[in-house]
Symmetry: C2
Subunit: 342 residues, 2 copies
Amino acid sequence: MAVTIKDVAKLAGVSPSTVSRVLSGHPRISHKTASKVRDIMQELGYHPNIMAKSLVSKTTKSIGVILPKPAEELFLNTFFMELIRGIVTQANRSGYDIVISSGANEQEEVNAVQRLVYGGRVDGAILLYSRQNDPVVEFLYQENFPFVLVGRNEQYPDLLSVDTNNIQAAYDATRHLISFGHERIGFVSGPKNLMVSKDRLKGYHQAMKEAGLAVKSDWIVEDDFLQESGYRAMSFFMNLPERPTALVVIDDVVSFGVLRGLNELGFKVPSDLCIVSFNNNPLSELYSPPLSSVDIGIYHLGYVASQALIQAIQDEDKSLFSKRHIIPHRLIVRESSMHHLS
Amino acid sequence: MAVTIKDVAKLAGVSPSTVSRVLSGHPRISHKTASKVRDIMQELGYHPNIMAKSLVSKTTKSIGVILPKPAEELFLNTFFMELIRGIVTQANRSGYDIVISSGANEQEEVNAVQRLVYGGRVDGAILLYSRQNDPVVEFLYQENFPFVLVGRNEQYPDLLSVDTNNIQAAYDATRHLISFGHERIGFVSGPKNLMVSKDRLKGYHQAMKEAGLAVKSDWIVEDDFLQESGYRAMSFFMNLPERPTALVVIDDVVSFGVLRGLNELGFKVPSDLCIVSFNNNPLSELYSPPLSSVDIGIYHLGYVASQALIQAIQDEDKSLFSKRHIIPHRLIVRESSMHHLS
DNA sequence: CTGAAAGCGCTTACAG
DNA sequence: CTGAAAGCGCTTACAG
């Protein structure tokens, strides 16, 4: 049997109420009893029972996170791990724990979230990525349950969210290539139903249009974040009569596949084709050639997501639940895009 | 206010005890009342309060996982994410949630574990990797708290653990190179204080000794799992008067660095140097050249760790807490080691 | 087969 | 500044 508040009270010669009060730092407790009680707690090795506390306070000091599990996402492992690391670090600093659940498909994800929410296991939730018609968002929104979205949602544009300005980021990446003289620039995107794919594609289009450059539909590939997608795209791209001289790629991991494909086809990067991608995977600077990439501060995204959510939960200020936090990005230029066309 | 067991009881015209019993599938409840109660629960949208349940049952249906955070480990992101994925999947299937905590250093890690354990937040813990003199292991062991180790511990060899036979795995990798005619084989290891480094080094030595091959201390490098470590090692290795013709490398990510270093120095893999490494990172088959790697089934390690722990917790069979589960490994031969020396 | 009662470990008005 | 009492939502012997 663990030591309880009663044991401490008895030994300290006070009531349980008093012990509880020194525990919560109640102002109207004499210094003397407070320090005495604290001594006893120390002596007995007292630790408050979190479940009992939660039961009465209706608060768990826990945040739920749903892990996406579809096989396609496997390659985003480093992305999600980095995000979670940021979330966990900040949450722990604020005295919150992170509860992770997962589901093999959308329905299971909803079930997992329902268990956490209805069971009163968490005070809020963090969604690690944004897709169209997300039933989890729908559920959380209808329940009026506190949550933050990494990304953004089209149906509910005002949700509490932490995001990269992906339109701008893709615009920047494309501009970078244009400034090097490229006119035929392709885009290798990710799954169509992800907001990040749509936004980055949009930024690409904007930059192209602004520069008066044509975009051929052949130059755009939309596919999963699979290792193979970038790879497969290459034999198609490079056989085009008017093939691109540069590529914007949705994620560094897809670029790894692109590079492999090009290598097998006998093309050199950057001399035959320039590449810029996103997320600045730690391996990107190790590749040959090192990859130009837009660093979006993944850890920071997670850190801020947790921070914003906890703040919103604690302040009970409803306006905090419809705030968008934009984390700045930064294009890191490496060898893969260092080739002036002339 | 959420709907409670009382509300259900009142509407169903039974006592709270009865509702509780149908909830837990108590055998001696008439079919009639049971189904009636279930209907009401459905109608009212009743969901049991997990905290209340935990308080009385002294069980949380949660497992704690400590995230290692030292910067050196950053590159193992895919390893840990994969492990966690396996853990979460199996835990959810068994009706358990995963609570993640982290600490910036060993002391903070211990604090995090203490909070979880003393606060009664989790029923057991999973340690994601094994190092020497781990204070977390020490704490958990002294407290007699249920936990499982991914790896093994020298001080307590009989802990519940899930591991790869790393000695054998490294032996296999080395044998593979020897069978291709290599005689000067080097070893690029990881941090000295990790069991995995020690075990793999041992297996390498065994294979070399058994084949009657000499091992020069110059051929062995022990370093962090840094991107740079493999990279830096190369200029040293390749300038040795008797330089190795093949390398066993502790992790694929380190190999990525090795490959980059060799590339810059103008050496070709596998013709100038053969490489085999471990963990079969998803990117390994995408590299040029594709990397030979020992697949250790990371997801499966996590899955079994969770399974073994939960089983031990539920069975209360003390003997289950000193069992070692070995997950089979498999050498996947790719281009990086496909070069016969003759 | 079912109910009344006590209790899990804590918090918090209400008194004093 | 401190205590007695009620209650958070559930479970579980104990009776019947």
